[in-house]
Symmetry: C2
Subunit: 316 residues, 2 copies
Amino acid sequence: MKSQSSTFDKPIDVLISEVGMRDGLQSIASVMPTASKFKWIDALVEAGVREIEVTSFVPAHLMPQLADAAEVVKYAIAKPGLSVISLVPNLKGAQAAIAAGTHKLTIPTSASVAHSLANVRKTREQMLEEVRRIVEYKNAVAPHVEIEAGVSVAFGCTLQGVVPEDDVIWMVEQCIAAGANVSGMADTTGMANPAQVKRLFTRAIAAVGIERLGAAHMHNTRGLGIANCLAAYDVGIRGFDTSMAGLGGCPHAPGASGNVVTEDLAFMFEAMGVRTGIDLEKLIAARQPMIDGLPGEAVYGMLAPAGLTKGFTYAK
Amino acid sequence: MKSQSSTFDKPIDVLISEVGMRDGLQSIASVMPTASKFKWIDALVEAGVREIEVTSFVPAHLMPQLADAAEVVKYAIAKPGLSVISLVPNLKGAQAAIAAGTHKLTIPTSASVAHSLANVRKTREQMLEEVRRIVEYKNAVAPHVEIEAGVSVAFGCTLQGVVPEDDVIWMVEQCIAAGANVSGMADTTGMANPAQVKRLFTRAIAAVGIERLGAAHMHNTRGLGIANCLAAYDVGIRGFDTSMAGLGGCPHAPGASGNVVTEDLAFMFEAMGVRTGIDLEKLIAARQPMIDGLPGEAVYGMLAPAGLTKGFTYAK
């Protein structure tokens, strides 16, 4: 939770990490122009968003939406105090992300064998080996870079169905044992419920310690995204991955899997008296450069059309 | 929580009360044909919904959507075991609702002076006097009928802004003192947050006792409806007002005020292991008669397009 700059000088209670630029953009067909990404980053920083997952380092032919990965990282790291994250599926991606200057790497591992093979074409054990290789590399060339190894489909898998909780906790432990600074659990497919979220995060905290757990990464596929974040908060989690305007999700399509909406979650916390460091009106305004860069793309979120409540006061 | 019939013979942990036929229909311009309302009631009962707020007894020229109030009540009370609620703003409405055979009356009072005058053209004290008159009447003619006096805008008011919590608790106490069987608190304008929900329901339970508190009535105006229900559940509330397909809300219009989506909330509870008595697939199917009766009307909810999760099991 960096707060070196004047933009980020207020103390915060929770860290909202914007992942729309990666998780959102990779899920839609439209390609946002690089110049629009820059304007979007400007607006997010202006609103007080302290951490952005800006891209994924994957082959451009596989994901043309993120072909400008290095350029976007270089632009973002010039923002004083902003924490800049890149997703990397392998050592090659990590090398490129570190060369571009990213502050933090996120490596996707999986709690489900079926999903692991489908997502990264590796078994869970092979993926843990990849984490070890990346940790070794970054320790040699950029020891200040943080590594999060997240556990995907931790709350259910569209291929495997139910994922045993022991498997999830085992993966979290293995990620930390492989040298990741933090691990995390992601509801990649929007199958989590609040009771399960409380159970799994409580177990994960007991297993590796709260300081070793990254953000709760919840999707809103079945409408429970915000309730699941509340459940995670209730058991001690203080970091949340969210996506502006729920980018990437489509509530009218089967399998829709949009992230929790940044604006709505930030509103919930501020209304509850939990400090996010975010100016909600500026955050709503930050939707515009995103919308301008993705003409015709569906946008979601309830706070933006409804506006702040009459008499609203920020957390103090 | 009636369960006399074979449809409703399973034990439940929470009572989900469908209010779309009243709160939803009164909020939209379209008028649902009476025959469609009957089919919708059939489908809701078939899905295991045990309580429906079917109408409001108000002058037909003020609310033509609900002009068939008596007819709808008569149809609904023929369903064995179904609990049938009517909203009544005054004694005249209560007389008509009781004559039609309704099981339960809901009377809207208000925590905010400004809202009370705007909504029912009475001060809070005058509205409490109306509650006393209705209680006296029903005790004389239909003592078995239950009376809930709900407190509207308990979590904030679009006219007054912040509503002092002492005012809300005072109104809950006054409603019970006026002879209502239960009182309740409604987030009429979608301004609540989970911390406030926990605080106010905890105070209300302490003030009048859990057996004197009706359903949590939450709106999803700013995306927090389900999280607010979870918060109410966490402090002991076991009844929830919801609206199929979020009827009546429009996330793309300022001031949108749709209820919590029945399907999504029922899914959350069942996934958590909390029994609702509802068959979720039949509940999703029950959207169709509603949609057929309101051609072109916007429908919401995330569960219906996404479907149940792979490997889903109901609460046992």
